[in-house]
């Protein structure tokens, strides 16, 4: 039997990673969604849960995208996308918004990453490429302030290199903060037991996943298949 390669595997789409993550957000949580895949999670929150989304520019209770013709340029999220406000939502100043964030009042922040280390170190703000002026935004505040940090990311870079590494090579956003990583191949938990695989996409073996992952992986006893529906 030939050795499995990733070419044999159907990866999740970015939307499916967002869908999968959204289903782990618990009822009643206050959650900040970072730019990119994290923001996409807002489309897939389970309807039987009331989850309050915070946007660091000063919106608590972010609602779905506005219907065409009802966009309001005064109502944007931190990605500068046009949004709506849920009933029960409120507008707050930037200082009060980051009081929520830094003061430990958010249950969860979902962030993107260039790299995550096995110790939970996060690098997501700069590659030190002189051609790209750096931008940090609220990432460092969120990374140290929220009660939980989960990362959504492709499992590998475009060059096929692992993004989950033994030690970050890019400048850190914060050390030891990431507790969970959702990728297009797996759901992984970072903790005292090292990196534990909770879920893998159908057909993927631990060996194949290990080959594109820096730290040593351990399969959870109760691991499951990571199956996501087609989501639009």
């Amino acid at each position: 039997m030939a050795v499995q390669t990733l070419d044999d595997i159907t990866r999740l789409t970015r939307r499916q990673v967002a869908w999968r993550t959204a289903h782990d957000i618990e009822d009643g949580w206050y959650v900040n969604l970072g730019i990119g895949m994290p923001t996409m999670c807002s489309n897939y929150l389970p309807e039987d849960r009331e989850i309050v989304l915070q946007s660091e520019n000063g919106v608590l209770g972010v609602g779905p995208n506005p219907p065409e013709g009802e966009e309001d340029p005064d109502l944007v999220n931190a990605s500068k996308q046009l949004i709506t406000l849920l009933k029960g939502g409120s507008y707050v100043s930037h200082v009060d918004s980051f009081t929520m964030i830094r003061g430990g009042h958010l249950d969860l922040a979902l962030l993107g990453a260039f790299e995550v280390s096995e110790a939970g170190d996060l690098a997501n703000w700069t590659t030190n490429d002189p051609k790209f002026p750096p931008g940090v935004g609220g990432a460092m505040d969120l990374a140290v302030g929220a009660k939980r940090i989960w990362v959504l990311t492709e499992h590998c870079t475009r060059q096929g290199e692992p993004k989950l590494v033994k030690a970050c090579t890019y400048p850190l956003t914060a050390a030891g903060v990431v507790k969970r990583v959702y990728t297009d191949l797996a759901v992984l938990e970072l903790g005292d037991d090292g990196v534990v695989v909770l879920e893998m996409v159908p057909g993927l073996t631990l060996e194949t996943l290990q080959a594109v992952t820096g730290p040593e992986l351990r399969l959870a006893d109760d691991w499951r298949e990571l199956v996501a529906p087609e989501v639009g």
Binding site: Y30, V52, G88, Y91, V92, T99, G103
Partner: protein
């Protein structure tokens, strides 16, 4: 499921508070004092409390009742003695109550530091005075400051005007005072609200304390300045 922070009884409002807790109690004089919640805490029975409040109670109601029953070990406040602070004066002169006196603006600023996750702040207030004794002093850009530590509550009791099931709050006029900062600075924040309204009935522009800072809301129809 829906988020519903409204509790039906005073008992539920203060459930689970342990002995030795630090309790932030809003109000400036009687305005904004959560009198009903203080009595609920009295009934609940927690002892050895550290209370943070601007004043040390008046008459024998509310905070004064808690102190009168011997439940308060220490009070952190700016102005304990004012018209009617009889219980405080009795206990203080009998050496039955510890007093930590904090300049009024630093009282709220230290709570804000806790709310905002700061490790400490350099304050210009009280430098070189008796109230800064034992505190680290430092010169920054030619001016002297003292290091002040965050002041965090296990519990905050606040008095609000409107509230909804998400815990959004507004306040009534100058009864606002310490409510917003105390709500942000405690692990568990309980609001007694004069009126409970449906979700969405508070204009999102006028919410003063967003629900994220509030854990429980209980309906206490009249306040009339804390009386």
């Amino acid at each position: 499921m829906a988020i519903n922070k409204i509790v039906e009884t005073m008992e539920a409002a203060v459930a689970g508070i342990g002995d030795g807790a630090t309790v932030l109690i809003s109000g400036f004089g009687n305005a904004g004092s959560p009198t009903a919640l203080c009595h609920a805490l009295l009934d609940q029975g927690a002892r050895d409390l550290v209370v943070v409040a601007n004043n040390a109670g008046t008459g024998r109601e509310g905070l004064a009742a808690l102190m009168d029953a011997g439940r308060v070990r220490r009070i952190v406040c700016s102005y304990p003695r004012s018209g009617g602070s009889v219980v405080f004066e009795e206990l203080y002169l009998a050496d039955k109550l510890e007093l930590e006196l904090v300049p009024q603006g630093i009282l709220s600023e230290r709570m804000r530091a806790a709310a905002a996750g700061l490790g400490a702040i350099y304050s210009p207030v009280g430098v070189g005075t008796q109230l800064a004794e034992g505190k680290e002093e430092r010169e920054i850009d030619g001016k002297r400051y003292v290091l002040e530590k965050p002041l965090k509550g296990d519990l905050a009791l606040v008095e609000a005007n409107l509230a909804d099931r998400w815990g959004n709050l507004t306040y009534a006029k100058s009864a606002r005072n310490f409510g917003p900062v105390m709500a942000m600075a405690a692990d568990v924040t309980v609001a007694q609200a004069r009126t409970i309204v449906g979700l969405g009935e508070i204009d999102p522009e006028i919410v003063v304390t967003p629900g994220i800072f509030v854990d429980r809301v209980v309906h206490v129809p009249t306040n009339a300045g804390g009386a």
